[in-house]
Amino acid sequence: MLEKLLSGEETSRLVLICDDQFTNGSTLLRAFARSLIKRGCQLHLFCFEQHPTNFIKHLNLHNDSNVHVHDFYSDPIGWDDGDGCLLGSRLFDINSKINQEQAGGSNTAVVIDSLSMTLQTCESTSVCQQLHKLSHNQRVIQTVMLHHTHLHVDDVTKRLSHISDSVLKLNLTSSLPKITFSKKSIHDGTICVTVHRKLNGKVFLSEEKVEILSDSSVEACPWQQDPLSAQTGGISLNEEPDVTSEANLTFNLNLSVREKKERSKLVMPYIKASEEEKVEIHRSTGGGGKIFYEPDDVDDFDDEDPDEDLEF
């Protein structure tokens, strides 16, 4: 599912990447940016957390004429009389800008490095409303955003997930928390849990192990959580001794090997009778039976959709 989202096979207007203090989502964000540029989009990049040149450097582009950078990193509050003043609606002026631009055509995409600063200065519901409007803008084919779940209350994450079409949550493989707080690269046992909602309403859930290579391309393979380690966090339980009630009996309820063999040799009364019948039947009918079935008009075939691929 992740690769389908990246390549554009699955359309998703609003993609939300959630990471926390143990995982790093910016590499995945870069991968999305790269694939959007490859598909020929005009990319609008909003950088809040790293310098734009740093972001673009890792994209390994031949020419970056398609990337419009909105730099909110260098001077967010406008102390140097800069352009990037972090008033609430600055981020969302983009909506009107895109509508005005004629050269852009219908292939615009928006990548937001992180929503955290915007969420801290504006109300989360107004951010949701603006993002919803942006995603429904006819010219924007996809909006990808990074969200740090540990910096905000759960309610905010829930609201953002509610308006998004796809939510990608990054987790670590083992459920035991890591003690180090360094920004680990994504090479090391990261799982992406994708919940994707298609346009017709169907929801798909997939868990994949993700590896992002140095040129921002992604390898994902489906991952099955080991049940024992999931429950117990990797510590194996001691096997409980089976309590049987025959510990206190004075007689033996089990059968010995010889007794078991004798039991299997025993012929049941019904077996004999059915064998006789079988012989008779074989003699009487020559070729067995055939069933002719013609469905009536009122016969109802199964209405369910076994492959879950029909568009309802």
């Binding site: 109300e123 409303q129 919803h132 929801v203 025959e246 009122v298 309802f312």
Partner: protein, 370 residues
Amino acid sequence: MKKVTFTKRPAKGGAVQVHGTVVSLHNGLLLVSTGIPSLDSVLGGGVPLGSVFLLEEDVHTRFSTLLTKYFLAEGVTSGHGLYVASANVNPNVLLNALPKPTSMSSTRSSQQKNDNDMKIAFMYKDLPKNQSSLSGVSRYGHYYDISCNMDKSEVEKCDLKSLRLTDEISYGEGKNDMFRYTLKHLKQCINNSRYEMPQKNSGDQQLNVLRVVLPHFASPLWCGDKPDNIHNIVRFLHCLRAVARNSMIACLVTIPTHLYHENEVAMIRQLVDTSVELEAFVGEKNPVFKQYHGLLKIHKLPRLNSLVNFVPDSFDLAFELKRTKFIIEYMHLPPDISETASRQGMDETNDKLHPRSACGGVSLNKKLDF
């Protein structure tokens, strides 16, 4: 057999006659169908006229959108008026994608044709036919096929009113303006129209039902973030209920209650008449739920006009979506667990479901062997 037809009472009795409605057997109120016959039976016949029906959305809004479509489609088939108000989402998108009713008329004609052609059930050929379908086009409760869309001409025959709340309205004087505007617009539509409750009951009035639908109400798109936001929602629902009681309308409101705190949800439930929650399964591995698509939880049933409300046989309900039907069933216990004890292959799934515990649980390695 329970008669679901509308029986014509003498005009002296003071019965109001509206097509597409049925008189409730419990409290004598007029009921309208939700569009899903099994949901109607769980609710005691349908949604009472003049009440507010709250549908608490599932997390990804797949099934709540579907139920809204069924409700609207039922309105079209019964010839009711439709009113849709949504924030920032075009109501016409919803109205253009209504499911098509599975045509009852064509099956009836084919049944008559094949009267003498029963090849398999020939012994029943001479028995009188059980007329479960009634004469008349718009009877109560229809089945819909979600893979086809309803004809636009059918939809346009109905009295359609829609309201799309955009920025210009909401940024008036604060966020509660959206709610006020909606209420005002709804009242304007109802005043001096067929949907107003008649003052005097004269037999020759042309009354009709207006189905009011507010999809994704109280989602982040509707409201602001301030702590008094819940009060605005609650006030709106209170006024909506007042408007509903005084007119011939049936309201369906869908709210994503998973985004709200428990106390706030309790306040919301207090102010509606019926509250039903949908919980959809996504990647559910529990074998008990294998054939279902989700659970249906009833939080409140209407108690209008009577001391005791209707109580369904069981509150453990699960739903399943088929192409032509939306089925709600009572969940029953799966077959006796001792079956699985003899099968060695079931070990893994049972471990997932029932982690080993000292008390109870399923002991899979029975040492007793007779």
